[in-house]
Amino acid sequence: MPHVMTQPALPVGHYAYDSVDRTFLKQRVAQFKDQVERRLSGALTEEEFKPLRLMNGLYLQLHAYMLRVAIPYGVLDAAQMRTLAHIARTYDRDYGHFTTRQNIQFNWIRLEDTPEILTVLAEADMHAIQTSGNCIRNVTADQFAGAAADEVLDPRVYAEILRQWSTLHPEFTFLPRKFKIAISGSKQDRVAARFHDIGLIAREGENGRPVFEVFVGGGLGRTPAIGTRLRDDLPEEDLIAYLEAILRVYNAHGRRDNIYKARIKILVQALGAEEFFNQVNAEFSAMDRARYRLPEATVEAIRARFGTPDFAPAGDAAEKLNAQRKADQVFDAWVATNTHAHKQPGYCSVTVSCKPTGGIPGDVTSAQMDLLADLAERYSFGELRITHLQNVVLGHVRQDALYEVWQALAQNGLGTANIGFMTDIIACPGLDYCALANARSIPIAQKLSARFGSADLQRKIGPLRLNISGCINACGHHHAGHIGILGVDKRGEEAFQITLGGSSGGEDASIGQILGSAMSEDETVDAIARIIDTYLSRRTAGERFIETCRRLGTAPFKDAAYAPA
């Protein structure tokens, strides 16, 4: 192998723990063991235990406990991926499920194994802290952070600062409802910043330090909303203070009488954006700013705990890749869809599709996890990223190594060339696992994936985001899909509503519109096929699906969807 890399002292792409951080994790595991014992002894009621276990990532689903493990800003190293593979093999049914918050879920966990699993995770500097509960959740970031050619600055240092700041925050651990933060450092919003409780977009400020655009009150769920821009140029040193101010207003005034109206978006809507902004500013002006200031030295101290890739000269990598693409059409198609431009000449980022044709979106076996760890070590400085679209990224692969990477992936069911295409489906676990769901998300995702699985057909259709949620809580982000599917309960039967025209990205973020009444699973698959046919016959040259939707409106698609068979 020509590209074996020596591992640097610090992990590339994520913060390196020190002894203090490791002590903290051990104490957290001990605390959870104690909580489990107090529950078993009856000292804690189930009502009291529930939020405590949720804040350690432990849900009770339909058939078993589910453990959601945190992958901060979606980045992990090869050793950590092998730990996840070990957990899947030892404590679950040999697979895990990557989530839209860049985490991983294990669906078949026994409560009594949980303290041991948390111990195993802690040994790999991992945890499940605040992956659930009414607290600040895993901070998500651009999956191409530190790599993308279009990046202005690397958001992961700030995501780590926010992770640490929000960990067991004394004031914000019993919020009205969950709280999600995303951060991007690129003009291309790949984090859906406007669909988060707080979305941050970083850019260079005039003094050479970053400034942040701050969006608040976006979200999906029952009441989809696009975030309001509160600040255009928040200075780096005020980042923590300003977020404290937003959280304080929310903690004090967010609704607690109805969980469906408890997210910050409802407070922003109730007060109006201007009044909410005024209240945040009043808090921000009154607070002890020196205490909450984020000094440059602190940012740099955190940055110094991140390893950086030691890139090799580009050489003739691009020429080699071009020759290989010319020689192999299938490889060429995969490179076209599954790679992303890198800032370093001779490199690119690879998105590994976890959406094989007819497969379950985001599910990966322990053997596949081990393979991904091996590939990361050999070709990408030991670093892996989970994307909010439920795929895996190898961030820094030399262009002349792509062919080997692709062959290894393809031999193990991970070589599907569909990133950004119709079968790159987001789907929640649905009624197969989840106690909240009205319908199963997985079987309809599999049927659609099989129906549109042809490489030629997908390429012909072009970029299309298809998102599926099994209930109105919208974990599958159906509102933000170009085509969204929402599972509902129709007189005791599983049924599906179609939405059209949603988009998660940047300035043109939009919420999909419901086409009409719900249909059965098979009717829905057929209706979507007719929607696609309508698009193909009505589009202008080079027009993407979402653009045709916006130009024509929903009417022709509705007619097609509900046309008699």
């Binding site: 020190d18 203090v20 002590t23 903290f24 104490q27 957290r28 001990a30 605390q31 104690d34 909580q35 107090r38 000292a43 804690l44 009291e48 939020p51 405590l52 009414n134 600062i161 640490q164 700041w165 929000s166 960990t167 067991l168 925050h169 004394p170 004031e171 914000f172 651990t173 019993f174 919020l175 009205p176 923590i240 304080r248 903690n251 004090a252 607690r256 009154a286 607070m287 002890d288 205490r291 909450y292 602190t298 101290a301 955190i302």
Partner: protein
Amino acid sequence: MPLLENGQIIQDTWQIAVEDTPLPAGDVLVPLARLSEGLGRNEEARLGVVLNSADEIEALREALPRLDLVVLSFPVFRDGRPFTQARALREHLHFKGEIRAGGHILPDQYEFLLRCGVTTVSLPEGVDLSVWQHAHEAFTVAYQPSILNEQPEGFAFRRRLA
């Protein structure tokens, strides 16, 4: 009710105002609605106020120099508003007196309360004090500044807990 302060059980000497009854002599706790009545008392005894989690801290701004105790009540442990109330009392209104947490509180929340500025906790009769002590000692590090101004632990916002 026993009171927990600095890991010790102490005697609660305060009386709670009884509805529709004149305020008693001595140290007394009044609800926000009877604050002016309490302030109008013509005696040396101390005055405290009991807040609900929905009450605005700002309502105490003028009276605060004459108050010795503010009680923050948790209707249920999941209602996190008293954490913000305590922190606002210390940080915005610079209250130096006792802040007491009462109502439905878990030992697992004790350290959060202290770091937001609470000094005493009302506990149910017969409580196992060791669980609270244990909760206080569970962590030796925190990841953000607090009103207690703990010593930095290494770098960033990490703080060393006693």
